[in-house]
Symmetry: D2
Subunit: 302 residues, 4 copies
């Protein structure tokens, strides 16, 4: 059995070197090293369709550039996202940035200043006003028909000018984005608002055809789950509904399994469902994604 | 300031008495007592529209009867649920029960026995087969038009024979169920499958009209959040989009706030968004819902 | 396999009945039912030496009466406690009670009011002043020699007048209390302070003889771990150092295993060490002790 | 207010650069950046006595070298450790290394192979045998008198040959190590065993004099808490017993505050006790120490 040789650090050590050092440690350092290694193997596997599940407030958390890097470098093929992440991405594309919360704050006072708090980050309410205007001008330019969320997001991406946007980058790079819970988001709200004037309709139930087809037509599948929720569940469902199972599965989460929720469920559990293959390469990293995700990407970026 | 008089117990102590004792303790016992008290106040407030957010595998977790009791006793007015919970409810309505996992299990072996694991509970895969058949016969009887998830679930409820079903009980008692993330569920999958033969369509984006209207038209609003995810977020969004804010808010969760996800976010944070009113009565109980929810209902049931 | 029949509740349901209902649920409800059952079996096992590990601020948390009930009813034989719990017990014995923190507080302001916060409970600093005086009068009456913590606590218990005290109850009922980390507590501090004037000495390393002897001489051993830390570890060490292993083991904790700490470590892990027997009856309940412990005691008290 | 500019990564990015990027993110990435910054400020503050609290199985977790680097570089002045960490350090000094657990293991089988599991790391039982022999030869060479744990560990360090040992490095560098819970460890057990033949005695209650004196005599105090337990509590107690309060406080933990335990308690709470100064620079990083600690040290090492 391999010995625990201990993690070492030195002046100027690179992230890639630190991750290599993590292989000499235990607990979550070791898991994070393993996640980096499996991610690399998945990315390099030409036969593998790579899914990326995105949940949690990753844009307020400062992960927008890291996600865009993954898209631009084609480290992933298919993204499943919450509506919130896409909404936050569009708000930034509309020119409003999130800001760091001050050390001391009062939520009632923040309310009076129209600053919406997300843990230690604030979303100026102005962002929603700008988003509404921006969307109103874009939505009328899109095909006036009923679309799946995936189709809608592709058309939307064409009209997002900000090249640092996740939706725009995915459009540019021909990466598909699915948003099964788009109805539960400000983006979904504005789609509904505009359906009062437009013929454009979005129905995420229609995504099922394409998502299932991707699973069926892939030789192999793999997934990086950043957080859980609908994004994780939807990718797993595609495996359940198809003859495929994930051959690679990496999960970054702070949720725990003991209360039975899908977000904290182990990848071993997913094997009982056939969502993850018996001999899949898997690892769960119990760590906030804002720390673990940049490390995984930094250690694999070329 | 009130003294901590210590929790006492005795032979034959009732749950209601234990909850009263919890007011003499600290930490989460005190929080649970407070949750019971706020819940009672909310239920007794005739002017208040009571929302119930349901997330996590509550049916496999054995919470079906407790939820049905809340519905039959009209402790809640509007339910927002994940698609998974409704799927599990329908599987049980179709005659397949969840089972307790054995002490020792092997996920690969469970797979070969077609037993899908959810922490310490198993869902026999047979349930999905029965569900598929059952839904096929029901869906063709429903209105062949485009519906919101709420409208669809009402029509569906009429055809569920099992009176112990959440969907059926809600239909009987005229309680609305919304399912914004229905696309991310086996139920959603079968709706899509059957749209290949039927004219029935379900689009959860259409729910926005009714959900927003409920918020606008309510004198007061309150919510019991069992878990987080889309169910919590969708109720909160209705507050964000309307002049209403929650005057009562109870959250049962095991998730933590530090990674910025909506599930673990505090109710204080929601005040900065105007989702929870400045002077709302609020409490978070950090406890598995399978323990806390039955205690809250038991201590308030008449 | 046993079916999940669902937890039911009704007006007037007793805690004992609720626990029975928990056997029809999943996740932590099921675990809590199992904990109650194993605890009963352990208590009724005449051959079993029952250890109780106490960690966390259980007295501020309002658990003093519940612990005293367990002692008076001889549900346990040997207690291992942190110094903090014993300090808090003595402060209450000296007449100062903990108080509930107000909804809104400011830690800097609390400091100016000499109110020490423990989550949602406050310990008036006056308690430390009273404790110091009380201890000064008691310590000079105790045997002026070097004692183990166990021996010291027995002598101390004789002089505690408050019959609701854990230390006093243990003395009355001839239940041993060990405190391996007594040096890390206000109680330990005052022992050291008084050694400047007295010949009384306490050395917790001397406890090893008696603790190991108990393990060696017991036919069977079992433990209820309330929290982790030194209390859990010290009981486990006694198993490691002796031919005994725990035949019953119940753990109540909110800590997680993934960072390798002893507090969140699973009982299965303890089998690899021989601390828990291969065929032991074990259960971990992931729940705040202020909720789970009163339920376990209430459902088993006669 | 500062904008969230998003974390960026690139090929060859150093750990120091990544930490700088973390300042452009939110949630725990931002907290980790802040921890690195406060740690640097503390280390560079010549007037500040730097405490390091060590808890959790940090040696099996692969943190031995990182801790030794902190000692050799005089990033800390006073260490408070659990007995377990020192025991593991001595086992490695005796020539037995921890090993990585295989992907699949069975705790009962590990028992039969005498491999003690600590999450995903194994401690060969042989280590305890070697430790016993080694200690027997060393203890007889030490001063045969009653010592505090601090004094004992200094004498012990002189006889540890392994220069990669924490205890040896601390001896070499004149860094004090306190172990208030030494009685709850294998090291404490062997001290007791040998007191049957030797006159050497160790009593951790005697440490109070020196620990309190350090607090009193320091101009300023600061602490890095790696995990909680007795190590965190003992440092905090020294502040409570003295006119000092921590001016810098960094806490790395995965524990949560809601159940009232000291390990998960916030640093704000510590202000109500006067353990942390009103205007102290503080941060809690909710992350496994095996990831966060190497990053903090790597980004500050010269």
């Amino acid at each position: 059995m391999a010995k625990v040789e201990h993690v070492d650090v030195w002046p100027g050590i690179s992230v890639k070197e630190l991750v290599e050092q993590f292989s000499h440690g235990g607990f979550q350092a070791y898991k994070l090293w393993k996640a980096c290694r499996i991610f690399r193997e998945m990315v390099e596997d030409q036969e593998c369709t790579k899914f990326l599940g995105l949940a949690g407030a990753l844009v307020p958390g400062g992960m927008r550039k890291v996600i865009v890097r993954m898209i631009r470098k084609h480290m992933v093929d298919v993204i499943v996202s919450t509506g919130g992440i896409l909404t936050h991405d569009l708000i930034e594309a509309a020119g409003i940035q999130h800001v760091h919360a001050p050390e001391k704050y009062n939520d009632v006072k923040l309310r009076s200043e129209m600053l919406n708090r997300i843990y230690n980050v604030l979303l100026p309410n102005d962002g929603y006003v700008k988003l509404e205007k921006k969307l109103a001008t874009i939505l009328e330019k899109l095909p006036q028909k009923t679309m799946s969320s995936r189709e809608f997001l592709e058309h939307l991406g064409r009209h997002v000018e900000d090249r640092e946007s996740i939706i725009r980058a995915a459009y540019d790079e021909n990466i598909k984005i699915f948003c099964p819970a788009i109805a539960d988001s400000v983006l979904g709200f504005h789609i509904w608002m505009n359906t009062q004037f437009l013929k454009l309709r979005v129905n995420p139930i229609l995504d099922q055809r394409e998502m299932t087809a991707i699973a069926y037509e892939s030789k192999k599948c793999g997934a990086l789950f950043v957080g859980g929720g609908t994004s994780k569940h939807y990718i797993a469902l595609a495996m359940q509904f198809s003859p495929r199972s994930l051959e690679y599965a990496i999960q970054i989460t702070m949720d725990r399994p003991e209360h039975g929720g899908v977000s904290g469920a182990t990848l071993s559990e997913a094997k009982s469902w056939g969502k993850v293959a018996e001999k899949a390469k898997t690892v769960e990293v119990i760590c906030d994604a804002t720390i673990a995700l940049p490390i995984i990407v930094a250690s694999n970026i070329l």
